[in-house]
Symmetry: C2
Subunit: 336 residues, 2 copies
């Protein structure tokens, strides 16, 4: 078996690789009863005294490094802040390991470090340690940044991606497909002409607003594989189904346009500043209001409801129903 691009594309093929080669060969996968490797959640946790430490890591191989709406530095810090956030933990620190290609320009590196700093400042997260390696010019394309985040939550208050219960409402914090489509459009040469921008942003403020309102049962950031992947993971892990109303899923006009032009489903591509939140129906409206008051949450919507069936069912704009399947792989490669 050989690794293909789709093994890194956040769909079922990647899941299989992780199960077959990684999970099956690692014996110690959990600390002290916390969330561990085989839970395949957005991160893991380590119970310690009255706290639970949350940890999550992501390598960033995005191409190009600078794109409309952000750059690799912004996505590296925001992405990791987001995985910590959706576990219900306040992100507090980041470790940043950089691998640079020989000949990389110092000014570009500086611009990237400043982007990391900006997100760190916005979220109150500190960048406390790191590592720097260099590879020969022909051995690495430009750079890779791997960020690992640490968060803290009171013991027992962690939020899992498996916590949905029949009757819960599903909140989506804003429009979908922006990141993947903006990247694809930019690569295809539509350049900075369109208004299309990545949505890359830290979601902690929205998550904090939701958590402090109450009733949150599950969360996930719909990154690689898009909402199609994230909704299916949430449903499958929780052992439930859901019905989602398509007309309530915000999709920007430019995203739709590019998506039709390129034949790519906006539900299957990465978002980098959105959260899907399961909420007890009694709290749903209040949580929605709280999220809408935050910087990135203005367009939040209740998009559906959890049931005790299987499958993620989409009620289309025309009143039809179809199963929304998890993609085999994200159709846009190297998005993060």
């Amino acid at each position: 078996m050989k690794i293909g691009m789709s093994h890194g594309a956040g769909g079922e093929l990647m899941q299989d690789l992780i199960s077959d080669i990684i999970l099956s060969n690692i014996r110690n996968t959990r600390v002290n009863g916390g969330v561990g490797l085989e839970d395949l959640d957005d991160g893991a946790s380590i119970p310690l005294g009255e706290y639970e430490i949350v940890i999550s890591t992501d390598g960033h191989t995005i191409d190009p490094l600078f794109f409309p709406g952000g750059d690799i530095g912004k996505i590296a810090v925001a992405g990791t802040v987001n995985d910590i956030s959706v576990m219900g933990a306040r992100p507090i620190a980041i470790a940043s390991a950089m691998v640079l290609s020989e000949g990389f320009r110092g000014e570009e590196l500086e611009r990237i470090v400043r982007s990391m700093d900006a997100v760190s400042e916005e979220t109150g997260v500190s960048i406390i340690t790191g590592d720097t390696k260099v590879m020969e010019k022909d051995k690495l394309d430009r750079m890779i940044i791997t960020t690992t985040g640490i968060g803290v939550v009171k013991r027992g208050e962690i939020v899992r991606d498996s916590g949905l219960r029949p009757g819960d409402m599903i909140i989506l914090t804003g429009s979908v497909g922006d990141h993947g489509m903006a990247l694809m459009a930019f690569r295809e040469g539509f350049g900075y002409d369109t208004e299309l921008e990545s949505d890359v942003a830290p979601v902690w403020e929205m998550v904090e607003a939701a958590l402090s309102t109450g009733g949150v049962t599950a969360m996930k950031d719909p990154t690689r594989g898009g909402i199609a992947n994230a909704l299916n993971e949430l449903a499958e892990k929780s052992g439930v189904g859901m019905v989602v109303e398509e007309e309530r899923i915000p999709v920007k006009e430019e995203v739709l346009a590019v998506s039709e032009m390129l034949g790519i489903d906006p539900y299957e591509v990465a978002n980098e500043g959105k959260v899907i939140i399961g909420v007890d129906p009694e709290y749903a409206d209040e949580v929605l209001d709280a999220i809408r008051k935050t910087r990135y949450g203005g367009e939040a919507q209740i998009i559906g409801e959890v049931n005790s069936e299987r499958h993620v069912i989409l009620e289309t704009r025309l009143g039809g129903r179809r199963i929304l399947e998890a993609p085999v792989a994200d159709p846009v490669p190297r998005v993060c």
Copy 2:
């Protein structure tokens, strides 16, 4: 300014890059008064309740992936366990982010994951979360693994690399130069003919033996830049000098042979299973004994003594004295 190979080679050039481009552009570098970015220690720390969480990250770009004595999986987990250990913290968990090149063979990946598992089992550390990305065949040479470790220590018991005091004894836990020279010899085609092997191993058992005996004032693992770099960093950060007796520094015959053949100083190349430990003189013999009883500590030596001057002074075998300078860069690239 453009990045060169030596910017990733663990000497003064790398330090300058980190100060000029990274430190100067990051505002939040510390959490809650713990060890932070500008301390440039082996990792950082986050005080939390009665504990201190220690975190350290390293990207691994070693070439070749499999070498005499180990492979990238072993070095990734052991290296991170070691940086946590030398901060005085018990390593408990690892996050593992892999970037694979398209076409990478599944069987090789499996072998690497098994090596990671073996070190994790030996040290009682769990691998609790990770990430997988794939880059196009011509964009990355084989694979990169970035491991981030989490350790825990009682608050106030962290060990820094700046804690040496005049009068302290310097313990070195075994022979130097093995990793760098084994790699270099292997690359030069001496192959598996020589007995020369990397020393890659987890140091936690030695560190734990030292800590539980008492009197430890400072620690560092002499990786990139070798003991020349590590001894100078310890001295400089502690504001002290030291005299080291060359005849007490264990160097294997094969290492010396290769080092002479290639004109590379064994003090300037990476070790991956050694620790330099500063100890209160009253505890030195006892700590030495304790380390010698451990699996990897049989050759441990007291190699020198801290004074209140500056510089690391080497007393040579012939009775002369010379300053041991920190290298500008490790002479063997891509060793970890």
